[in-house]
């Protein structure tokens, strides 16, 4: 007889990984199914990387409640799981009197939601906090923070695995049947069985739901494009700067966000589309993005651009409606045992912790949640050589000479760190997976220096044939094989 899991979670994004980790505190058998070859390959790896404070959301909604609560928990979770996090605060920049007036409303709404420390500031203070940014005034939110979204997902997944959860990658869910209270989940890697099913499939959550006959949801994909700029954050802007949001755009407007690593990202745009995975960038939007970002921070130049990416919002609101609809997190009456998470768009990442808590409580209505005695809440990441003081670096090199070999020159990533990344706990071996762990191939040379060296390690040290090396899992083979 096949194993029947207590809970199968579909989707290894921020939400799925957080739920897996939360449930791994209890004596339950847990399986996460993910169609991609690693965690965070969907929306969770394609966002702004901001822990929102919660002043943008409509009072009384789950979005507002969970965002504020998620923000409060975020820092301690990052500490537990060794996730890079920095409480930078954030400024909303006003350009005219209308904006200033709108800010009063935003502040009041934020306070109603429970945000703390929001403060209207004048032009002079803006200049002090964000010297390069224009504007006549603004609002400061001290509790907004930035973090590393990839490490977040990886850390949650690793900690969940450490506590007994299982992950199966490259397993796309294609059909689900429910027979005598057991879900049979068919995937590209065979069938898996579950008593309870959590649908955290992001952009495909409506389709997963429809597989069980619940067709009332529809996701409208809405693309956001970004540019990544060189490491100029420390010089130009070390705090996220957003324009005052205009009503109805269904996003927060093109903003400037320093990344935890000191790059600056600009975006996202907002553009409804048909295809849920069309991550292509368009020339019109690229030009527009840059122009809008330059209005906010005149010092940026085209030559600062080192890359671009797109994320797609799983919106419930159709284009003609715009704006935000609240998260749907519920057990479906028509299909007991199925917990649907629909429309988990921004601030879904910030809210992932409270969302996981709510899923746990929904399951707790049926399942006996018994705490594990040996739950280990701590996960330690691998050493980040470049962040260490010189004495520490010397110790590491003495212990393992591969710490003395720099493979990625832009980000100063050593051979040992690449090796740690290749040998990761989740078994992901694509170049992007190595990149998100070691943070190599992310600098201004786009991997020009380190990629061939990493390929060499994969081929020689790990005996992976060149033609099997992928960028992002099956179907993204990098090479046609050997030359000779």
């Amino acid at each position: 007889m096949e194993q029947i899991y207590d809970v199968v979670i579909i989707g290894a994004g921020a939400v799925g990984c957080t739920i897996a980790r939360e449930l791994s505190r209890y004596c339950l058998s847990i399986l996460v199914l993910e169609k991609e070859c690693d965690v965070a390959y969907g929306t969770s790896g394609r966002m702004s990387g901001v822990v929102h404070a919660g002043f943008n959301n409509k009072p009384g909604t789950l979005m507002a409640k969970f965002c504020v609560k998620g923000n409060r928990q975020f820092e301690s979770i990052c500490r537990e799981l060794d996730i890079p996090y920095k409480k930078t605060g954030k400024v909303l920049v006003a350009f005219d009197d209308d904006d200033m007036k709108a800010l009063e409303g935003i502040k009041a709404r934020g306070e109603e939601n429970g945000c703390e420390g929001l403060r209207i500031i004048d032009a002079e203070e803006i200049r002090r906090i964000a010297p390069g940014v224009g504007g006549i005034g603004g609002m400061l939110s001290p509790n907004t923070a930035i973090f590393d979204p990839f490490t977040y997902c990886i850390a949650h997944a690793e900690n969940a695995v450490d506590n007994g959860a299982e992950f199966v990658f490259d397993s796309e869910v294609t059909a689900i049947e429910k027979k005598s209270n057991i879900f049979c989940v068919n995937t590209s890697k065979g069938a898996f069985y579950a008593r309870y099913l959590v649908n955290s499939a992001g952009l495909y959550s409506d389709k997963i739901s429809a597989m069980l006959g619940i067709t009332k949801y529809k996701i409208f994909p809405c693309r956001g494009e970004y540019f990544i700029l060189d490491k100029i954050a420390d010089k130009l802007l070390d705090i996220p700067a957003y324009p005052v949001p205009k009503p109805g755009i269904g996003g927060l407007g093109v903003h400037l966000t320093p990344t935890i690593d000191g790059n600056l990202i600009i975006g996202p745009s907002a553009e409804y589309l048909e295809d849920r995975e069309d991550y292509a960038a368009t020339p019109e939007i690229m030009d527009k993005l840059f122009a809008e970002a330059k209005a906010l921070l005149p010092a940026i130049e085209r030559t600062h651009i080192i890359g671009n990416y797109c994320g797609i919002r799983p919106k419930q609101a159709p284009p003609e409606e715009g704006g935000f609809r609240d998260f749907v997190i519920r057990e479906e009456e028509e299909c007991p045992g199925l917990i649907n998470l629909i429309g988990i768009e921004s601030p879904g990442f910030t809210a992932a912790g409270p969302i996981a808590g709510m899923v746990r409580d929904l399951l707790g209505r049926h399942l006996k949640l018994e705490k594990k005695n040996h739950f280990n809440p701590i996960r330690k990441g691998k050493a980040r050589f470049r962040e260490l003081p010189q004495e520490e670096q010397e110790k590491l090199i003495a212990a393992d000479p591969e710490y003395g070999e720099i493979i990625c020159r832009c980000q100063t990533v050593t051979k040992r760190e690449i090796r740690d990344a290749i040998e990761n706990m989740l078994g992901a071996r694509s170049l992007s997976s190595i990149k998100y762990r070691a943070w190599c191939m992310t600098g201004r040379c786009n991997g020009g220096y380190c990629m061939s060296r990493i390929v060499d390690m994969l081929v020689h040290d790990y005996h992976i044939p060149a033609e099997e090396i992928t960028l992002r899992g099956h179907g993204s083979e990098m090479f046609s094989g050997e030359v000779k």
């Binding site: 020159r409 061939s452 020689h460 083979e477 046609s480 050997e482």
Partner: protein
């Protein structure tokens, strides 16, 4: 290497050369094609051979060549920090010469619209993968940009059996050297489209196609000119950026294109710190880079001694014929000038050649054009390992592909030395043509 050699030769007591790679030689090691050393050695050497000579010259002169050392920073008081597997090393010097080379502009830098699938490479990375790591980047190739590395790679890919479907260049003329346009592109029948760009990259996970579009005079896409070209690799040859990360750690003044701003003595904004080669200004020819390096080396020693320094002649940096070869002419490849030589009916003689060697070359071209073949062979036993080779004497142009094909089946021993004959090709005319290795253990 040239700077270290010259500094030592001019009387410096200790000269240390720090290199992050396992071998000295820099980018030359992956440039297995010939055409190096035309001025310096009056020979058409391959990159690795040229590097080998330069290393030997430096080492024989007494330079300490320290490889696998990654310099991460330097200070204005001329201290240098390097990482290596033995630990972190600090060097204090009387003078420092920066020769850190350049890197390529990438897809990220030029923001091509479309998706970001596997299969997009810069030309230098493609070259590195193919020539040093035995990794083939694809079979149906489109190249964007007609910089020299892109042109060289067009030929390299063709010799390895890939089909180069198009080279697209945004400018009205190719940006690489005329000799490369003629020898790497025209001679293999590769289509080169100017005022054309890749307007879109298509393919979700793996590159499926690119969209090529014509550009108007102001560089905008001509609507309706889009066409789809199915391919599995896109190679970008869209320019080089001087690499000055180390210089930046000491706040050395850079120009807006990231090049080091030096005075006429090749001295940077910090006295006693010099800069030469591609990190100072991207140059076409290794020979001139070496020449400049030597001057930087000499000037560094003059700086220590307090002697007057030599002045670099900027004309030398970039003097070669670029763009399209003129029609009905022969591009002379004997020296880097690339003279455009024409047969003149009236005077019954060649015109346009800068020297007499040009006439001999042109006559040969007209009757039986010859080329050196440069490629790689497999090293026995070691998986994935390649060694560069070339014909010792040129073969008929028509036989280039045959030679490359023959060499695909050849393997050599790891112990084989540079210059060893690994194969003898019997030409159609009955000559024995030796194929020699151009790098060795």
């Amino acid at each position: 290497m040239a700077a270290a050699y010259a500094a030592k030769k001019s009387g410096a007591e200790t000269v240390i050369l720090l290199e992050r790679d396992r071998h000295a030689g820099g980018i030359l090691n992956q440039c297995i094609h010939d055409g190096f050393g035309l001025i310096r050695y009056q020979e058409a050497l391959s990159g690795p051979e040229y590097a080998d000579r330069a290393v030997a010259e430096a080492e024989n002169m007494g330079v300490e060549v320290l490889t696998s050392r990654h310099v991460v920073k330097m200070s204005a008081d001329r201290k240098v920090t390097a990482y290596c597997s033995e630990g972190i090393e600090e060097y204090a010097a009387k003078t420092i010469i920066l020769a850190t080379g350049c890197r390529e502009r990438t897809r990220g830098n030029i923001s091509i619209p479309g998706s970001r699938p596997a299969g997009v490479f810069t030309a230098g990375v493609a070259q590195n993968l193919m020539n040093l790591h035995n990794v083939m980047i694809g079979r149906r190739i489109v190249i964007l940009g007609s910089g020299d590395i892109g042109l060289i790679m067009a030929r390299r890919l063709t010799l390895e059996g890939a089909k180069v479907l198009a080279i697209a260049e945004i400018m009205p003329e190719p940006t690489g050297l005329a000799r490369n346009v003629s020898q790497c592109v025209y001679e293999f029948g590769i289509p080169l489209y100017v005022r054309t760009t890749v307007s879109k990259i298509i393919g979700k996970r793996k590159l499926e196609a690119v969209e090529l579009s014509d550009l108007d005079d102001s560089g905008n896409v001509v609507p309706g000119s889009e066409r789809r070209v199915e391919c599995d690799a896109l190679v970008l040859s869209v320019g080089l950026i001087p690499e000055n990360e180390v210089a930046q750690t000491a706040n050395i003044r850079l120009l807006s294109n990231n090049a080091v701003d030096t005075d006429q003595y090749l001295q940077t904004s910090i006295r006693g710190v010099f800069s030469c080669g591609n990190c100072r200004r991207v140059m076409d020819l290794a020979d001139y880079v070496s020449e400049q390096g030597e001057m930087a080396g000499r000037n560094a020693v003059r700086f220590i001694k307090g002697d007057p320094m030599e002045i670099w002649d900027e004309e030398k940096s970039n003097c070669m014929k670029k763009g399209f070869p003129e029609s009905d002419t022969i591009t002379c490849t004997v020296c880097p000038n690339g003279c455009q030589i024409k047969w003149d009916e009236d005077s019954q003689s060649y015109m346009g050649n800068g020297c007499r060697r040009g006439t001999v070359f042109a006559e040969q071209e007209r009757t039986d054009p010859k080329r050196n073949v440069t490629t790689t062979v497999v090293v026995k036993g070691e998986r994935q390992s390649l060694r560069p080779v070339r014909t010792k004497t040129p073969v008929s142009r028509d036989e280039v592909l045959q030679v490359a094909e023959k060499l695909r089946g050849i393997s050599i021993l790891p112990s084989s030395k540079i210059g060893e004959t690994v194969f003898t090709y019997q030409s159609k005319a009955g000559e024995d043509i030796s194929v020699i290795t151009t790098a060795g253990k």
